[in-house]
């Protein structure tokens, strides 16, 4: 997957899970204020990302630092690249 494809897949998955308008999602969109998510939603966000990209998220610390959609894009792209390098 290219970086752009990963970003699109993330936006599609998140928009579907949390019933958001995909057109309003930008890298600067904040999870809590702009998207209206809460700590419970983050639990489900992890499940959504794991299902969409076939990896396991075990970096609890890294997840807690995520503030914006752009942070998610970066996190997932890095995970995918790590996965590819291992393969």
């Amino acid at each position: 997957m290219t970086d752009q494809e990963i970003v699109e897949q993330i936006n599609i998955s998140i928009a579907k899970e949390f019933e958001l308008d995909q057109d309003t999602l930008t890298p600067e969109t904040t999870l809590f204020e702009d998207m209206g998510l809460d700590s419970l939603d983050i639990v489900d966000l992890v499940i959504v990302l794991e299902a969409a990209f076939s990896f396991k998220i075990r970096e609890e610390e890294a997840i807690r630092k995520i503030q914006t959609l752009g942070d998610i894009h970066t996190f997932v792209i890095n995970k995918k690249r790590e996965q590819e390098n291992k393969a």
Binding site: E17, F18, E19, L40, D41, V43, D44, V46, I47
Partner: protein, 405 residues
């Protein structure tokens, strides 16, 4: 003691999803019972059940809001919203410490099963997601409604088996009567899925009149052979009477008396005097006599032992001349945790529309019900004083005395 007014009600039941639809079914004596082929395939002794049809879970709520709610909690929300709309209370008038929530509910089976299945399938608790912990609690109705309606007073669920809804309405009325709350949104909710009913089916307590589902539930009839499980949600808005008058609300009726008792006896067989102690207290609290009562909305579920015990209890209170008695479970089946509250909603609908609904499928009395004035046909007269009985496993009894005018 404050007077307690009924200023709104709503219901989702196998008789319909609006007050109007339910009123029509009650008036016409229509049954909401179906034959569920899934239960038959699973090995149920009785595949009969009430069924909620055409209810849109997402009509009022988002996916995120539904995540923490099983279907019966969503139905309770819709019933509560309908009741609030009828009461014409604005959101601002309920978003305060003087407005409470009390519902009756005694199980939330599906979420408990799903979370275990997910863990076994996925191998880690994380995959269960965030909603199940909330969905699986019996207090899921009040915890979710409190969040959605933003009330800030009482917020809890009463679990007392099949009298849960009756005690919930009763305690709500008490909180207002004692000055602890100005208004309480109350009711009962009952899941209708097969998963929650399989162990009950194991008791051989359900009707096996499979060739004629709509005639299977026949409370007080000599040929009754068991109950039919059912469910949904019922909600009422109760208010301090003087405050309801002051804001110009339409007052549909009053909760004049709420009494409770317990049998202290068998876990599943009702006693010969438990319910009558609650009935006598409720009548006494209302300051009236048994002869003043126009209608008894019976608990009778269509089981041989339960109906006989209730018939004896009613006879003991009223003597040889009982008021008209009917069990609406002849149409709805047994709405279990919800039933004590739904009886109040059904009573309000009947009083408002000027009739007493029939105890359908009553063709021949047994030696106990022969002593009662069973309303086998609709009575086209608005009842003023109504006594609502409900009773649950363990011998817990609730009795509500309602007055409509």
């Amino acid at each position: 003691m404050n007077r307690v007014a009924i200023t709104g009600y709503g219901i989702i039941s196998c008789l319909g999803n609006t007050v109007e639809a339910v009123g029509h079914s009650l008036k016409m004596g229509e049954s909401g019972i179906i034959f569920d082929e899934v239960r038959q395939g699973l090995g149920f002794r009785s595949p009969l059940t009430g069924a909620i049809c055409g209810f849109d879970e997402r009509a009022l709520l988002t996916k995120k809001q539904c995540k923490t709610m099983p279907d019966f909690a969503v139905q309770a929300h819709t019933a509560a919203v309908d009741a609030l709309q009828m009461s014409r209370l604005s959101p601002e008038e309920i978003e305060n410490e003087e407005t409470g929530l009390i519902f009756g509910c005694d199980s939330s089976c599906i979420a408990a099963i799903e979370q275990v299945d997910l863990l076994r399938e996925k191998g880690e608790t994380k995959q269960i997601g965030s909603g199940h912990v909330f969905r699986s609690m019996t207090s899921c109705v009040t915890m979710n409604l409190n969040t959605l309606l933003k009330t800030r007073g009482a917020c809890w669920t009463i679990s007392s088996a099949c009298s849960s809804g009756g005690h919930a309405v009763g305690q709500a009325a008490d909180l207002i009567a004692f000055g602890r709350q100005e208004r309480v949104i109350c009711g009962g909710a009952q899941e209708i899925n097969w998963q929650s009913m399989c162990s009950f089916d194991a008791l051989s307590a359900f009707s096996t009149r499979l060739d004629d589902p709509k005639r299977a539930s026949r409370p007080f009839d000599a040929a009754r052979d068991g109950l039919v499980p059912s469910g949904g949600a019922a909600a009422l808005v109760l208010e301090r009477y003087d405050l309801a008058v002051a804001r110009g609300a339409t007052i549909f009726g009053e909760v004049k008396g709420y009494a409770f008792s317990s049998d202290g006896s068998h876990i599943s067989v009702p006693s010969q005097n438990g319910l009558q102690r609650a009935m006598r207290k409720a009548i006494s609290l209302a300051g009236i006599k048994p002869a003043d009562i126009d209608y008894v909305c019976a608990h009778a579920t269509s089981t041989p032992a339960g109906d006989a015990a209730e018939a004896n209890n009613i006879s003991a209170v009223f003597g040889p001349a009982t008021p008209p008695v009917s069990s609406l479970k002849s149409m709805t089946g047994h709405e279990l945790w919800m039933s004590g509250a739904s009886q109040v909603v059904y009573s309000a609908i009947m009083a408002q529309q000027g009739f007493i609904a029939p105890n359908i499928n009553f063709t021949e009395p047994d030696e106990f019900s022969a002593k009662l004035n069973i309303a086998a046909e609709r009575i086209d007269r608005a009842p003023e004083h109504i006594l609502c009985n409900s009773a649950g496993f363990g011998g817990t009894n609730s009795c509500l005395l309602l007055r409509f005018s």
